[in-house]
Structures are given as C-alpha cells and as structure tokens.
Point group: C2
Chain length 390, copies 2
C-alpha cells in the first residue's frame, strides 16, 4: 500500500539475502579450500544451488546486481593498485599481440559456426566480435587466490584483456552501425576513436597528477577513513567515466587502481580496500551462479556449446603467436590464452544490446549466456590445473 513500507520490507529482505549469500558462499569457499579446490567454483556452484532454477532461495535482483558490480569494480581496482607499471611497459608488445590475436581468432572460429546455421553475415560478425571480449575479474580472483597476481604473466594477461575489450568495443561500434545502416559509418568511427583517445588522455593526465601532486599528500586527509573513501570513490567515478566513453566500468576501475599504483601508502590502501572486496566479491560469484538457467542450457546447449568451443579455442590459441617474439615455455603460452577464456559482464552487455537492437534473437542471445556459463565454469578448473602444475 504505502511505498515506504514496501521499501523498508524490501530492504530487510535484501539484508537477509545478502547475509545469507555471504554466509553460504563462505561455507562453500571453506569446503572447496579444504578439498584443495578453487573457492571460486564453490561460490559459483552455491549460486546455482540457491538460485531460481534449483532451490529458488535467492533470485537475482537490482541489489544483488549492484553489489556484484561493486565487487567486480573493487576487484579490478585492487588489481590495478597491485600492478607494477614497469612490468606493463615491458609486456605491452606481448599484450597487444595477445589482444589482437584473441579477438581475431575468436571471430575466425565463431563466424563460420554462426553463418553455417543462420546464413546471416552481420549476426555472425556481431557474435564473433562480442565473444572477443574478456571478463578478467574471475581470472584476477583465481590468480589472487594462488598469490600470483603480481607475476609478469598475470600483468600481461590483465593488460591484454584490456586490449581485448578495447578492440571489441571499437569493432562492435562498426558492426552495430553496419547492422543498423547497412554501411560503415565514418563519423561513428571518428567518434569512437575520439572517445578512446579522450579516455587515455584523461587517464594519463590524472595519472601524472596523482604521481606528482596528490599521491604524496594522501596522508594530509584528516577525517576518518578518508584515504579509503577517496580511493574507493575515485575507482567508482573513474569506472563511470569509462562507461561514458563506451567501455565497461571495470576497465575504468582497473585504470583508477593503476593511476594510484605509484602513490605513497599503497600497501595500506590495498589492505584497507580489501575488506570491501571480501563482502562484495562473493556476491559477484554467487550472482554468476544465480543466472545459470538449467532449462536455457538445455535449449541453447547446441548453439552455446559450439560457440563455447570457438570462444575457448580463440583465446587459448592467441597465446601461441607470443612465443614467436618471447622465449617462454608452452605451458605459459597456454596460460596467457586460457586465462582470458571467461566471458561474463562484457559479453552479457553486448548480448543485451544485440537483443535490444534486434540483431540477436532469443536463441542466439541465450547461446551467449551459455558461453558465459561454460567459460566461467571451465576457467577455474583449467586455470587451477595450469597454475598448480607450475
């Protein structure tokens, strides 16, 4: 009856669901840790179990999506903070090769699959491009769990995942233009190029500003928790800025962390931000499980299964060309590609856009959700195997 009452009740229900999801994901994490399995698998499985398609205790809602996004942002913010800029500069050639090959190979593998079934070249191109995107949060979580987030491979992988998304964002604009107008839009191309340049220019300027001016003055804040609030809100706002430029907010959060990676008090900042990740990242993982629709898997299994093969192979193969310029073992080359298998937020965003614009029908849309599920599922297993053997 009264909107305030409904709101109060909804808030209390959401508090219950939030507490419950945290508690059970903690249980799952402890169980899987003791079985020497990845905590991530346990937490995603718990999401599937509690989700609408099995027990029906927790349903995805706006609050869960929000906490989940905060979790992903915090994860990438910390990943950025933990990044060694010197390693990035060292690995930029490998990262570029990985990014270009990751997207290119995925398109080359996915296009014939979609085209042979649908006969629609624009649909085939759109799905191929969409599948080029990498959701790095899950990989960051796994590397972090294994204490390998500061390794050179991890940095190369994160940077190349950023490249993956940049290329996909760039290409998708043209494919969408093609789908809507039937021709390449030059003004759009200029527009997008402009946005990318603006994003990096602003990142560079703020980055230098932090390094020279603000970074060494952070201790001058006087109010309680000021440094943590400053860094966290900067991560959120830069995430928003990235989304304005057409990128995923988590890319912005990563660059925000990167900009702060050279400031004083860096270790205290990471330690202070971590508890926020502790209580939001499990929701990100449970939320992935919640959206696993068993009936959609059955219906779209065929299409999604085929696309998953393309999505996985496209990334895994992208590691090998790096071997031509960098002397490294076969297992590392596989790791460089396999770590970028996960398709989650970015692919789902493009899937939604494609559905809204009428480029994708329900079946292809669902098949992209299946790819999200299979890749998210297989990644921890594959990475755990690759990381453990090293």
């Amino acid at each position: 009856m009264c909107p305030n009452m409904v709101m109060v009740t909804e808030i209390v229900t959401n508090i219950y669901l939030y507490g419950l999801a945290l508690a059970v994901s903690l249980l799952a994490a402890e169980l899987f840790k003791r079985m020497e399995q990845s905590e991530v698998i346990g937490q995603v499985l718990m999401g599937i179990l509690l989700g609408p398609y099995l027990l029906g205790i927790i349903h995805p809602n706006e609050i869960f999506s929000f906490i989940s996004e905060i979790g992903a942002l915090t994860l990438l913010l910390i990943a950025g903070l933990e990044t060694d800029i010197q390693i990035i500069l060292k690995s930029r050639v490998s990262a570029t090769i990985l990014g270009v090959c990751g997207v290119l190979f995925t398109i080359l593998l996915a296009f014939p699959i979609v085209y042979s079934i649908s006969g629609d070249p624009i649909l085939s191109l759109y799905i191929g491009v969409t599948l080029g995107a990498t959701s790095i949060s899950l990989t960051v979580r796994i590397f972090s769990e294994f204490g390998k987030l500061k390794t050179e491979e991890a940095q190369t992988i994160i940077i190349s995942a950023v490249f993956d998304d940049l290329i996909v964002v760039f290409l998708s604009i043209f494919v969408i233009d093609l789908a809507l107008t039937g021709s390449f839009g030059l003004h759009r191309m200029v527009h997008v190029t402009f946005l990318i340049l603006v994003f990096f220019a602003v990142t560079l300027i703020i980055g230098i500003l932090f390094a020279k001016l603000i970074g060494s003055r952070l201790h001058k804040f006087k109010s309680r928790g000021a440094i943590i609030i400053f860094v966290f809100s900067f991560g959120l706002l830069f995430g928003y800025f990235a989304s304005l430029m057409g990128f995923s907010p988590i890319i912005g959060a990563y660059f925000a962390g990167l900009m702060l990676a050279e400031v004083d008090l860096k270790d205290e900042i990471i330690e202070g931000i971590s508890p926020i990740a502790f209580v939001t990242v499990p929701i990100f993982l449970v939320n992935i499980g919640l959206r696993v629709n068993v009936s959609i898997i059955a219906e779209a299994a065929f299409l999604g299964g085929l696309l998953s093969i393309a999505a996985i192979m496209g990334k895994v193969l992208s590691g090998f060309p790096v071997g031509k310029i960098q002397k490294t073992d076969r297992r590392t080359l596989v790791l460089l590609g396999a770590a970028r298998i996960p398709r989650a937020e970015v692919v789902l965003v493009f899937a939604s856009i494609g559905l809204e614009l009428g480029i994708l029908n329900d079946a292809w849309y669902s098949s992209l959700v299946v790819v999200m599920i299979t890749t998210t599922f297989l990644t921890p297993i594959i990475l755990k195997y690759l990381l453990k053997e090293r």
Copy 2:
C-alpha cells in the same frame, strides 16, 4: 526496451551516484573537520544540497536506501563489538530508568500537543509512542568521532536506546491493536512478550556459544577474508532475525556485535570491518539529507516544531531521574538524555506503518519527518557542545 539493458544502465548510474556521494561527503567531512565542526553535520548538509529539493543531483532510491541501511548496521555492529560487557552489567539499572523515563516523558509531552490539535486520543497516543523511539546510529557516529565510544556514558546511552526501542515496539503493538480494534488485545500482548523473550533467549544462547565454542576458533577459517565475511554476514543475519521479532535490524546488528565482543581477534575484526563502514556510513548520512523536503518543512513546520520540542525535552529530561540513584554531574545527566534525541529509521518505520493503517494523515506523517529532520540536525550541534565542554 530490454530489461537487461535498463538494469545495466541503472547500475552504472548508481555507481556514479555512489561514487559522487562518497566523494562530496568526503569533501564535506574534510571541510567541517578543518572548521572544528562535526563531520556528520557536513555530510548531512551535503545530502540536503545535492538532494531533490535543492540541486536535484542525487535522488533517494532503493540502492541508496540499501547502502544506507548497511551503513547503519555496520555502525551498530562495530558499536556492539567495541562494547565492554562489564560496563553494560554495571549500567543496566541506569539504562532501564533512562529507557522508561525517555518514552514516558515523550508521551506525556507529545500527547497533549497532538490531542489539543486533533482531538483524537488514539492518534495522540500513537504519535507519543512513536516519538519514544531512539535512532542511536547518529549518536554512535558522533561519540566515535570524539573517541568516546568506549566510555561508560556511551555504553549506558546505547543500552538505554535499546531499552527505548524495546518499550516503543512493545507499546506500539498495543496502540496499533487499540486503533484497529478499539480494545486491548491480550493475545497480541502475549505474542509480543513471547517474541521479546525469544529474541533475548536466542541472543543469550548464541552469545554463550560464541564465547565458549566459536570465538576461540575463528582463526581456523582458511579462505580469504573469512573472519570478516563471517562477522559481517552474522551481523546482517542477526539484524534480519531482530526484524522478524519486530525490532529494527540495527538492534540485531548491535547485539550481534555484543555477542562477538568477547572473542579472540576482536581488534583485528574491528579493524577489518571498519573499511566497510567507511564506504557505507557516509551514504547513511547523505541519505538523511536527501530526504529533507524544504516544502514539507514549511507545511508541517508548526506541527513538527511543536512535536520536536516534546521529542527533545522528553529525552533530555529522562536523564535527570538517574541522578537520584547515581552521583554524577548535571552535564552528564543532560548528555544521557540529549544523546538519545535523534529520531530517524525507527520513527520513520512507525510513521509509515501509521500512514498505511490510516492512523496518521499526511500532515501528521510529514510532521514526524520534520521531527526526524530537526532532531537529526540538532543532535550533532548539542552533542558536540556537550562533549567538547567535558
């Protein structure tokens, strides 16, 4: 068009608003801190400035209400953790006197005001009882800012605020019964008494369980951030349990903290939970400001102004009877009452219930919102004065 797209856009907008609110409230906190004013006033003022009735940049929404509630819960969880159980046992006589007098005096002062204007005894009783409730979060925030949260007065105040709410919750059930049926419902009285007994029995049992069994085993968790996740989710779930028993969730969070106050690793837990408070409590404060409707203040200023006097005097006077049993200075007696002036969530919850049940009309409902605004506003100023002089 597509629900998923809307959701993604809404999430990004909420991330922006969250980041913005944190950043500006940090600015306000820093400014007010440097002016030797309470950070709280600055943060509430920033909420009014950015809110729908002035600049219109931030509007209250479900996400803000949720973060705000998490902020209040975390605040009370930490307050509970920081509580010294021995002081509680020592101050329970004073706390009972304070609680009974606080509610009684408020009813005695508010009843004639409402009755002389409305001529409705049930309405007058309902408003009187509703105004007896205390929202302790703001006080906790101010005491914490002054580093006085562990003092005996602070503990007595928090415990008596819990008594305030217990008495109000208890009485409100009977007043609501009276309003709906025209007679006192004995079975409801038994029911409510039963719920209160259940709440304290469960609290006692879990409390003993923690002290004896779990408290010393917390370090055995193996997954990342497990202790923080455990304590935080326990606070949320016990908050929910309290709401099931008819109390405010923040009361549950406070008792959850209390139960954990004697465990090992207590200091590490407080330190680990604090960053969650840093990024949620400012939203709680900004959210108070957001709901300050200047036009409703104008319309309901007369009623709300009168009720505010009753609400403030009722609590302030409640400190004096304690002087009869406890030798202390006049200023401490005023502090014991004045610290319980704030009326926020609990009063708003009862205002909503009253409106929904038709006990309150829009004018009286708005007048309770005015009381919330005036008391919330005056409390930091009064407390700052009282705490500074000591």
